[in-house]
């Protein structure tokens, strides 16, 4: 029985670990009528046995005998299985029972719906080492653990939020579209973007790209060029699709929404509301839609045909945009029959600075200048001197525009130092390259004119004083430093004012003239009116405004459906991945970011042509391939599209659970010896040195390769060596114990190789062969008879020969003595079984005793097998010692009997 949410919380027995031992104990206890909770940390029960090829000495197919047991366990009415679950703590209650706290890790797949068809795996764009094939092959982020998995359900390997995606205020899945571009799925990348934000062309050019600031690769040789990748996919899509491929949604709702302002916030809210079926009308005061995209950002950064195409993504849904339609009151919209209003009027008005002479002709505010420049009302500036006052991004654009209008000299005057300039450094740099002069630590005092027209400005030098509220040092005028400068045009880029004054009487406006809207819901003091973008946040960024538009659409929809606005969360994000941990996963080869071509500074001031170029297809894919897949799954959503059962849901979350139990059986199994710890064998360096678990996979019917092939080049090996006792009986490896199974599994594999690769020679290098069980010695003799060579010799080291073959140096114990050198084309390290020490941490008081080798201690192995140091806690299978499968099953039976007796004794 698989765990469902409503399952009860009391069980007779808890079993930790669903390998062969855990399943055996669970079935035995379940058959006796006890209620059993079986917790398994992996996505499937079955442990390591189900992954083996065959079992010694019978050569029965391992998965064929495991799978019925797995099915029986999962169908048993008394056994409840929690896979993907981790025990966090087991505490002992005063009455001798136990309290278990465990975590059900989210798989993002609804098990009730998933049919295990595997379509998600085929669609997935992220390739990850397959732990169930011991890293021999790739799996996908969306994966079914292995073909016989129980439950056979997909799982999405999403470990948190990738830093790039987590940083996006609009919730754009940066990692997702990067991953799609890497896979060559360019249209899919565009469509993924459109799930969150409808203006990819504009963002690709003018977004400040917080994703790139957050990118893990930025801590190495340079961030992934996420914005350029977006530019590539969007340009390609727009090139192929001059018009959107969709029309208005079929379902039209009857509630109407008015959006005031057609900047990114307004367009985005309209887009998301229209997709839900609401009729939306956008009212725009300016002659054309786009807000700052059209009237602030210059065409050499954002061509206006791109803005037009972006806006088509919104209007194709049936959104009506009324231009030259300034809204003067909320009431008028109500009267016109709108059920809800979204105010997204931006922050594009000018503050008056109060300089003497500020009203002279020839002095303009930033937005006024840009609007007039783009509409042709400021023509040729040839021979003129232009002074732009300010240090933000809004100062850079007028300066660069002035150069393009032919100005002889363009100065940016800023009252603090360069490092305090709020403008992005790359923007300042671009302006300087083009020939803009920067005059820092200077500020106008007054403007002088003749016949009402500006001729000169008087300015002061400044010095930096104490830090102000913003933390930046306050500029203080240097007394007596007044100087004069000739100027034909002054652009005051000293801050932008929210365009909220028409609404001041109706809704609450803050002192800085932004709208007082709820931070979560964006609702204003009038419940049907919501507000967002720069009108609420003050001057911010396109992507912040898009994020607010999307948020507003979410809450306006709830409002119009009569649902409460609290008790829900919009866009709940997973915890962001730790970048250091991502970098710590392994070495990353140096790959410098690919730069895009730009028009040379000298040429670009001659026209308004777009400065930045687009990545080529190859460069875009190579750039995307610098991504480190921080969170595993990229959230590219291909699996969602591919899944015929609609089983994948990224809003699922992990859950904390508790249960009360009367006894505990620990069957957490063993850990394989990691042969990296014996560097002289070259494991991890030489592809043809593998471990025995990998060889078992290569020999199994569900093998990772199409045949038993060697990993260096896919050749069928014909001269294979086994190195026994790798990590066992070896004090230098910290394990003096014999692992009991390595001799026998190596002999098993040797026999299987003889069948699979009839031409191959197999040599087993051993110290002595331990064939102690029933039929084991016969099995060994059978292998000798088949022609397996047994060489008594201790392998000292392995080196690689030129063709990826291997040179083995061994101490010849039986033959002539001395060190011998032989060549093989594949070497299998017969690794030992090590204790799984994690189990020792499960108990809150640390009472679980270990033996001197860190296996769970059995207090009296001879008389009372399976009893641990804690009354009521038992151990089964390889948690307490290396055991083969028959012995593990036997031991698990003993543990079940002891656990049952414990419960009965307490009942009596």
């Amino acid at each position: 029985m698989l765990l469902k949410t409503a399952d009860f919380m009391n069980y007779d027995h808890l079993i930790v670990g669903g390998g062969i031992a855990g399943m055996e104990s669970a079935l035995t206890l379940g058959d006796m009528g006890y209620k059993v909770l079986l917790i398994e940390k992996e996505a499937s029960i079955g442990g390591k046995m189900v992954l083996l090829s065959k079992v010694f000495p019978t050569l029965d197919c391992s998965s064929c005998i495991s799978t019925p047991k797995m099915a029986a366990t999962s169908h048993h009415p008394n056994v409840t299985i929690a896979t993907n679950s981790e025990v966090e703590e087991i505490g002992r209650n005063g009455d001798g029972t136990f309290r278990v706290r465990y975590r059900r890790n989210c798989t993002f797949v609804d098990n009730a719906a998933c049919t295990g068809c595997g379509e998600c795996e085929i669609a997935c764009t992220v390739s990850i080492p397959d732990e169930f094939n011991f890293d021999l092959v790739a799996r996908r982020a969306a994966h079914i653990p292995f073909p016989q998995a129980v439950p056979k359900k997909a799982k999405i390997d999403l470990r948190g939020a990738s830093p790039c995606s987590a940083a996006c205020p609009a919730g754009v899945k940066a990692h997702g579209f990067v991953s799609l571009v890497r896979s060559g799925k360019y249209e899919e990348a565009f469509h993924l973007h459109m799930e969150d934000a409808p203006l990819p062309g504009s963002l690709a050019r003018a977004c400040y790209a917080p994703c790139e600031d957050a990118c893990t690769r930025g801590d190495l040789e340079g961030t992934v060029s996420i914005r350029h990748i977006k530019r590539f996919m969007t340009d390609r899509y727009y090139g192929a699709h001059p018009e959107p491929e969709y029309g208005p949604p079929e379902e039209r709702l009857d509630k109407k929404v008015a959006v005031v302002g057609s900047g990114p916030a307004g367009l985005t809210a309209a887009y998301h509301l229209a997709r839900k079926g609401y009729p939306v009308t956008i009212f725009e005061a300016a002659p054309e839609a786009g807000g700052m995209l059209r009237y602030a950002i210059p065409p050499f950064r954002l061509p206006k045909d791109v803005v037009d195409r972006d806006i088509k993504n919104v209007t194709a849904l049936g959104v009506e945009i009324r231009a030259n339609a300034r809204v003067e009151s909320v009431q008028s919209l109500k009267e016109a029959g709108f059920d809800s209003v979204f105010l997204a009027v931006g922050s594009g008005e000018a503050w008056t600075m109060g300089f003497e002479g500020e009203d002279l002709e020839g002095i303009v505010d930033c937005m006024g200048f840009l609007r007039r420049a783009y509409s042709g009302r400021i023509g040729d500036l040839s021979g003129k001197t232009v002074v732009v006052v300010g240090g933000g991004n809004s100062a850079i654009d007028p300066a660069r525009v002035s150069l393009r209008l032919g100005a002889a000299k363009v100065v940016i005057m800023y009252r603090r130092s360069r490092s305090e300039m709020p403008a992005h450094d790359w923007e300042v740099q671009a302006a300087l390259e083009e020939g803009v002069h920067l005059q820092i630590l200077q500020n106008p005092k007054r403007f002088l004119g003749k016949n009402g027209r500006l001729t000169q400005l008087e300015y002061l030098s400044m010095k930096l004083g104490e830090p102000d509220a913003s933390g930046r040092r306050r500029p203080v005028p240097v007394e007596g430093s007044e100087a004069l400068m000739d100027a034909d045009l002054v652009v005051l880029a000293t801050g932008l004012r929210p365009a909220t004054f028409p609404f001041a009487g109706a809704i609450e406006i803050r002192r800085d003239e932004t709208v007082n809207a709820d931070a979560e819901t964006l609702q204003t003091s009038i419940p049907s009116v919501f507000a967002g973008g720069d009108a609420v946040s003050g001057p911010s960024s396109i992507v912040e405004a898009i994020g607010q538009g999307k948020r507003a659409a979410f809450y306006i929809d709830r409002y119009l459906r009569g649902e409460p606005l609290d008790g829900t969360t919009f866009d709940e994000r997973l915890p962001v991945m730790n970048k250091e941990a991502v970098i710590g996963r392994g070495p990353v080869s140096k790959r410098e970011p690919i730069r895009v071509k730009e028009i040379a500074a000298g040429d670009r001031v001659k026209s308004f042509a777009e400065v930045e170029g687009c990545l080529s297809e190859n460069d875009a894919r190579a750039s995307a391939n610098r991504c480190l897949d921080c969170a595993g799954c990229s959230e590219c959503h291909q699996c969602i599209r591919a899944c015929p059962a609609n089983a994948i849901h990224f809003d699922m979350r992990s859950e904390e659970r508790t249960a009360e139990v009367k006894s505990v059986i620990l069957s957490t199994g063993f850990r394989l010896f990691d042969p990296h710890e014996k560097p002289q064998y070259g494991y991890g360096r030489y592809p043809n040195v593998i471990n025995a678990m990998q060889m078992d996979r290569l020999l199994s019917p569900t093998r990772p390769f199409n045949h038993t092939l060697r990993p260096s080049d896919g050749k069928q090996p014909n001269n294979i060596a086994y190195v026994l006792c790798t990590g066992s009986r070896d004090c230098s490896a910290g394990n003096p114990l014999c692992s009991r199974v390595c001799c026998m599994y190596s002999i098993k594999q040797a026999q299987l190789i003889m069948g699979a690769l009839p031409l191959a020679d197999v040599t087993i290098y051993y110290i002595d062969i331990r064939a102690f069980g029933k039929g084991y010695d016969e099995f060994y003799e059978q292998a000798r008879g088949m022609g397996v060579a047994f060489v008594k010799g201790k392998v000292a080291r392995i080196e690689e020969a030129d063709n990826n073959d291997l040179k083995l140096f061994y101490e010849d114990i039986e033959g002539g003595g001395g060190t011998q050198e032989v060549e093989h084309d594949l070497v299998v390290l017969s690794v030992g079984l090590m204790p799984n020490k994690d189990v020792l941490k499960l108990f809150d008081n640390g009472d679980l005793a270990a033996d001197p080798y860190a296996w769970v201690k059995e207090m009296d192995e001879n008389l009372y097998p399976a009893l641990t140091s804690i009354d009521g806690v038992f151990v089964a299978g390889t948690s307490s010692a290396a055991r083969d499968i028959p012995d593990s099953i036997l031991h698990a039976g003993a543990a079940a009997a002891q656990a049952a007796a414990h419960v009965e004794r307490r009942r009596a």
Binding site: V126, R685, P687, S712
Partner: protein, 81 residues
Amino acid sequence: MKTEGNRSLAEVLRDEMVMKDRIVGLLREEPKTIPELAEALGYPSHEVVLWVMALWRYGTVAEMKQGRNEEYFKYTLSASH
């Protein structure tokens, strides 16, 4: 060829998503062994094994029937490609 200085497994696997189209292109010309693909791609054969086996696993490529004395399989595009 020796394989000292290997790239990390995770990095090699990430490359699959870019290399797959080149491999498909090469196999469309004619079936090839792993060493032949490695030669054509200019990448170490142990990396190419990882890419080809992933493509095999998810159904893009298939192995050809092999002659008795051939050490290497030839791979081709599977019927659905």
